[in-house]
């Protein structure tokens, strides 16, 4: 694959991860809800879109349907689990639901192709200019989602989300319905992730349940923390930075001979270990992110 195609591929995947990071940032960075089970929606969006298009439904309709089905899924999953009083219960419940989605995708071969996966998903673009079309299209969508979220988070709605994040009880005392706010935030953030799932399915054209495990979350966590929580630009920067590092090192074994001799064919796992350690270091020393959240100034005259 030529260098241009490869770069465009990296940009495209980075865009998808950037959308994931934006979605998680709304829930975690702004509202303080750590949605551990977000990888479930990613899978739901991807499979919805994939299954519909494989059965002949055109992409734009399938894309919209992935929004809708993700929305229904997230409401069913979030409304009971966000009622749980304790963070640890919420963690177990949200991861549990995402794992059940995974079980379902693996088991129901008649629908999803099971662990063998779903192939032949029609791509959005074909032909020789496919890579450029994908790159531009995905960059456009990232910009769209970013602008939407930016308007959202700079609005009074964003302000009350951040209030919920900082001190939920105080916010409730002020009369704000924090449970409903958390639902809104999780809903919007997750629906965006579902849409990203659809884009992912149509880019890779083959999906299987093992691609939607909890390892997806680690990339997004790292990207989010790298960019700084509560900062949409940060999410974009984090995702692209992490992607370049990730792809930059993927082929390190080709130009660093030491790796081949010492690690052999297991470089991929070694990279994941490095990622994991990087994640641990980040949450131990810089849990709020590398870039600080910007100061929200609402009235420059006071």
């Amino acid at each position: 694959m030529g260098f241009l195609e490869y770069s465009l591929a990296i940009v495209s995947i980075a865009c998808i991860y950037a959308i994931l990071t934006l979605g998680l940032n709304l829930q975690w960075g702004f509202t303080g809800v750590v949605n551990y089970g977000l990888y479930g929606v990613f899978a739901v969006g991807a499979y919805t879109s994939g299954l519909l298009t494989v059965n002949g439904i055109p992409f734009p309709i399938a894309f919209i349907c992935s929004f809708i089905i993700s929305g229904i899924y997230v409401l069913l999953a979030a409304i009971p689990t966000l009622r749980l009083k304790y963070e640890d219960q919420f963690a177990m419940a949200s991861i549990g639901i995402a794992e059940i989605v995974n079980m379902f995708l693996n088991n129901e071969r008649w629908l999803t192709g099971g662990s063998g996966g779903l192939s032949g998903i029609p791509p959005i673009f074909v032909g020789s200019s496919r890579d450029i079309c994908y790159g531009l299209f995905l960059l456009f969508l990232v910009a769209l989602f970013y602008l939407f979220l930016r308007r959202l988070t700079e609005s009074p709605f964003g302000r009350v989300l951040r209030a919920t994040r900082e001190d939920e009880v105080a916010t409730m005392i002020l009369g704000k319905h924090t449970f409903r706010l958390k639902i809104y935030s999780v809903f919007i953030g997750s629906v965006i992730v579902g849409a990203a799932g659809s884009l992912y399915a149509h880019y890779i054209t083959f999906i299987s349940p093992s691609m939607f495990g909890i390892h997806v979350m680690f990339f997004v966590f790292i990207a989010l923390i790298l960019g700084g929580i509560g900062r949409n630009e940060g999410s974009l920067i984090g995702a692209f930075l992490l992607m370049s590092f990730s792809e930059g090192t993927r082929f390190a074994r080709d130009y660093i001979p030491f790796i081949e001799t010492v690690l052999g064919g297991k470089w991929a796992y070694f990279r994941q270990i490095i990622f994991g350690m990087f994640f641990l270091i980040l949450i131990m020393y810089k849990p709020k992110g590398l870039l600080k959240e910007k100061r929200w100034v609402y009235d420059k005259n006071t």
Binding site: R83, E87, A91, M92, I100, N107, G276
Partner: protein, 284 residues
């Protein structure tokens, strides 16, 4: 009718296997106040360590198990000293601890895949004989699993009731500040909690490997059932963990009569979710 009893027996086997990590998780949850998501990967690690001694180095399974437990102790203690103790000293909240345990699980999973081959393997043991007892089919190794589990649970009871460390662990689990006031060295107790956690996860992994086979995903599968048991029994509640393990084990296996066997863990999850909501209403 005979078939239901067969599944109940399978449930007892599964419950026996679940007892060990659930006890470990329950004690750790009660003491450290967060669910340690790395328990699945610890079990897998234990299973693979035993595999190396059993298959590659040609030792019998019991010796391999003992050596694996000894080897996994420093792993657990290293995690405590390198990750969780510093986090606790910084005053890390539950979220951070949960994320750290998830990160640890991720790292362990990849370490396992890095070191060992990823296809399904089995332990090298005497070929297992299936027996018919009271009309129920049960393998020799399954009887061994249940017996080993019972012995270990009994040993644990003695430990918790009679030894100073055991009583100390129960105290810290109940109320860490009060136990410090009473002169108990909480840090030492926490170290023991981790020792316990590692060793019992290791044993659980070996038993799972014995019952079925060994692959990198084996530990993740029991994660939800372990949480379900600890939720049912209550964190830090030893009797609860025992009862819970049997209830969950039997429910999971009997559910196969009604739903596809892939969803066994989902049944455990549903029970856990029900327990969350019933608990929040106040009843214990």
């Amino acid at each position: 009718m005979a078939s239901v009893i067969q599944y109940i027996v399978y449930g007892i086997i599964t419950g026996s296997i679940l007892t060990l990590p659930s006890l470990a998780m329950s004690i750790q949850y009660g003491t450290l106040r967060f669910p340690n998501f790395s328990i699945g990967e610890m079990s897998t690690l234990g299973a693979y360590l035993a595999l190396t001694f059993n298959v590659t180095l040609n030792m019998d399974l019991i010796t391999s198990a003992i050596i694996s437990c000894i080897l996994i102790l420093p792993v657990g203690l290293f995690c405590e000293y390198a990750i969780f103790r510093p986090l606790r000293k910084k005053g890390a909240g539950t979220v951070t601890l949960i994320l750290a345990s998830l990160g640890l699980a991720f790292i362990l999973q990849n370490v396992i895949r890095f070191i060992w081959p990823t296809e399904n393997i089995s332990y090298r043991i005497e070929p297992t004989i299936g027996r018919m007892i009271f009309g129920v089919r049960i393998a020799d190794k399954s009887i061994a699993i249940i017996s080993i589990s019972c012995l270990l649970v009994l040993a644990m009871f003695v430990f918790f009731k009679k030894t100073k460390i055991g009583i100390g662990m129960r105290a810290v689990s109940d109320n860490i500040d009060l136990s410090r006031v009473m002169g108990i060295d909480a840090d030492l107790i926490i170290n023991f909690t981790w020792a316990f956690f590692s060793v019992f996860s290791c044993l659980a992994g070996i038993l799972i490997g014995l019952e079925s086979n060994i692959n990198p995903n084996m530990g993740r599968k029991i994660l939800i059932p372990i949480f379900a048991v600890v939720t049912l029994g209550g964190a830090g509640n030893i009797y609860g963990a025992l009862a819970g393990a049997l209830i969950i084990g039997v429910s999971m296996e009997v559910s196969v009569l009604f739903v596809a066997s892939t969803y066994k863990e989902a049944i455990a999850f549903v029970i856990m979710l029900a327990a969350f909501f019933l608990r929040s209403k106040g009843a214990k």
